[in-house]
Amino acid sequence: MYTGLGTRPEKAVGKSSRRGAFNGTVIALGMTSFFSDISSEMVAAVIPIFLTVQLGFSPAAFGLFQAAYELANALLRLVGGVIADRTRRPKETAAFGYGLSTLTRVGLVGSAVASLPAVPFLLADRLGKGLRTGPRDAMISLATPEPAWGTAFGFHRTLDATGALLGPLLAFGILWALPGSYDAVFLFSVGFGLLGFAVIMTWVRNPVAAVPASTTPMSMSIRSHWHNRGFRRILLLGGAFGLFSIGDSFAYLVIFEASKDSDAIGLSGIGIRWFPLLFAGTAVAFLLTATPLGRLADKIGRARVWIVGQLCLAAVYGVLILEPTSVLAIAAVLGLLGLHYGATDGVLPALAAGVIPEHQRSGGLALLTTVVALARMSSALAFGLIWHRIGVDSALSVALCGIVASVVVVTALAVLRESPNEVAS
């Protein structure tokens, strides 16, 4: 079932198992993501300031833009997955996504230099990002033997997160050296985007499918995913836990507010000044743990590692409830958040890939990330509402209890009947 690459599938199987997780396709896709993430995160980091300060967006317009931005991403993810499955060309689909995003940044250079409208380009950028996600994850699973999926996804996420960390650093470095030089930021972004595009075009090849391309319409393929019992279980799992995932920004905001309420003006200053460092701290913890935890997942069972990752998130909420004003507590929150992502972000697709038939994998993995993203979005909304109406501790307690209850239920179900989630144990 696990065909490798190239023209001789039966040969490639042997090769792939020897290469394990670190095969050419995974490395190339990882490097593509690395460069593209430098490119896109450079832009994402400066966009709030660029739109509001440079182009004079009102807060309301900016909020609307944010919503459209995320929606464009979520919708096109499904489309990208289905197209990749139907054409059996995940590489071209993904490459089109990377190329489209890069092209939009050429437009952004235009916005910075000649005040072209920036918003259409930014939305098209998200469309591109949506298109490539599903096919990319499918190719990782198709190029790697099943026992090494966790490691392969973990390795890819490490490169991905490294790029996402370097991008903002680079962008702020440029703006620090030459304030207002958004054109230079966007130009570098185009360069890195092109580099990512070139890597995928040059070193990634379409997997050879054992089954012919699917010709079912989009609604049918989503329905067929639903009829797939094993996958449905994972969709429910990802969605349910996503509902209790409040998102990093809220976690940082809790830290920020807690240090502000302590009423010492020195602390409130530290809170604001160190805010960007919170993002960086989590990213470092994530990229350091993604590969080893993926490997661990391959050894002891992906579902187990994934559950432990959720418990890390529960621990984050616990620390947040106990007022994270000390440096140690803040470090614990960042470390645990990073661990949570390391144990879940790559492990979930590795878990799901085993139960999605090869010819539906791009669409299936895209559906999974979309479900998780939608669940997280509604969770953020609910969390914000509860925080606003009742209080932050209640909101955190609800999320904490939600996770713990879900873990108990899932574990109980898994013990009661041989769970197919334990793919690799």
Binding site: G191, A198, L253, H388
Partner: protein, 410 residues
């Protein structure tokens, strides 16, 4: 790095060792791919070249602007301000000529014990408060851009080493805000004594407004913050904090104070406060912004309460006698300076026709100062402002009083 031809069947292991990419195909990863790779590198190199070029040209532009500014400053009589507003009469108007260098730190440090042992967090200008007729933020492009300057009683312009983007100062103390470079949207604030020496450092958002009460017991700052509203992540909003100087305790206006409009609590989620002005250490005014518009609130620190007193106005600045507020009223895209009689609430336009972004500063009982952008002399990175003076009496017109300066503090 690639295998343009198919590998022989008996050599797979060699390929594994040497080639990181997947095994070959009949069609090679074509020259087009490599052209793409080359293009990417060319764009990156071009970006780097453009970036370095921009830095160089920005430097040249700054130098040119600096030279221009110095020329223009020569033409401007610095005694104008003191002749008009100097509290102590310029006892013996010396014949000021261009040969006077800025030696203020050595000759002015007589009133305070000149302690230069302070940690290198911020410079201690150690200026004799009697020497400061008016303090401002220097806007001459170049290295001294953004440093605090002051006009002495002789009308001489001095520049200190203290960096501020927004300043307020009086005989009792001061506050200085500056944006920290790099990771956007943050800044630092300093409490100052009357001689511009920092005594306490605190964090702020992107600096916007600063005020110190006449007795120096309370200061206020306003900064722009990102993602302040829980419901709309990513929004811009303002934060305003009052700081008790003695107790080093801050109070966020939005969180600690309760605001009333006609004795009903204002519970607008979008409410923001900015631009505080003090009558004394307890009594103050500020701007309240809601979804509907802006209004002026009157507050008391002692009872943590603010009341809406004026609608449709922003950025109040109360006169030293407490009788008049100069504020701004929106007229389309323009902000019109207005005077509001505190007792009667009667408002009238001042004689400034240009739109004013600044919150004004009172120079004496009947004149306000404010900065306006000077679009001709600045650069992108170092925009220039001039300080203008305007009599609040009807029929007056504005005069430029201190060129290349911002954030006047009298």
């Amino acid at each position: 790095m690639t295998n343009p031809v198919d590998l022989p069947d008996d050599e797979p292991s060699i390929e594994i060792e040497t080639a990181p990419e997947p095994d070959g195909e009949q069609t090679s990863p074509s020259t087009a791919s490599f052209a793409l790779l080359a293009l990417a590198l060319v764009v990156l190199a071009g970006g780097a070249a453009y970036f370095i070029g921009s830095i160089v040209s920005a430097k040249e532009e700054t130098e040119a602007a600096q030279a221009r500014a110095e020329e223009e400053l020569e033409l401007f009589d610095p005694r104008d301000f003191v002749n008009e507003f100097g509290t102590e009469p310029p006892s013996s108007l010396p014949l000021v000529d261009d040969s006077v260098p800025t030696e203020e730190s050595s000759d002015a440090g007589d009133s305070t014990t000149s302690t230069t042992s302070s940690p290198r967090t911020a410079p201690r200008p150690d200026v004799d408060p009697a020497q400061i007729a008016l303090a401002f933020v220097n806007r001459v492009p170049g290295d001294e851009y953004g440093l605090v300057g002051y006009i002495d009683p002789n009308g001489e312009r001095h520049i200190t080493e203290l960096e501020c983007s927004r300043l307020d100062l009086n005989e009792a103390g001061g506050i200085c805000l500056s944006a920290t470079a790099g990771l956007g949207g943050s800044g630092r604030g300093l409490l100052l004594d009357a001689g511009l020496n920092p005594s306490l450092r605190f964090g702020v958002n992107l600096p916007s407004r600063a005020a110190v009460s006449p007795d120096g017991s309370v200061v206020a700052w306003t900064g722009f913050s990102l993602g302040h509203s829980y419901l709309n992540p990513g929004e811009f909003a303002t934060t305003t904090q009052l700081i008790s100087v003695e107790r080093s305790i801050g109070a966020n206006l939005e969180q600690v104070f309760t605001t009333y409009r006609d004795d009903e609590v204002v519970t607008d989620v979008d409410s923001n406060f900015w631009g505080v002005t003090f009558v004394d250490g307890d009594h103050f005014y500020a701007t309240l912004g809601t979804g509907d518009g802006t209004s002026i609130v009157e507050g008391r620190v002692s009872n943590s309460r603010m009341d809406v007193v004026v609608e449709n106005a922003t950025c109040p600045e109360v006169s030293p006698d407490g009788r008049t507020i100069v504020a701004k009223e929106r007229r389309g895209d323009s902000m019109q300076l207005i005077a509001i009689d505190v007792e009667t609430g009667v408002r009238r336009d001042l004689g400034e026709t240009r739109s004013v972004e600044d919150q004004v500063e009172w120079a004496d009982e009947d004149t306000v100062l404010y900065a306006l952008p000077n679009l001709e002399d600045g650069t992108d990175a170092q925009p220039v402002f001039d300080v203008w003076a305007l009599d609040v009496a009807p029929g007056s017109s504005p005069r430029m009083i201190i060129p290349f300066a911002d954030s006047p503090a009298a």
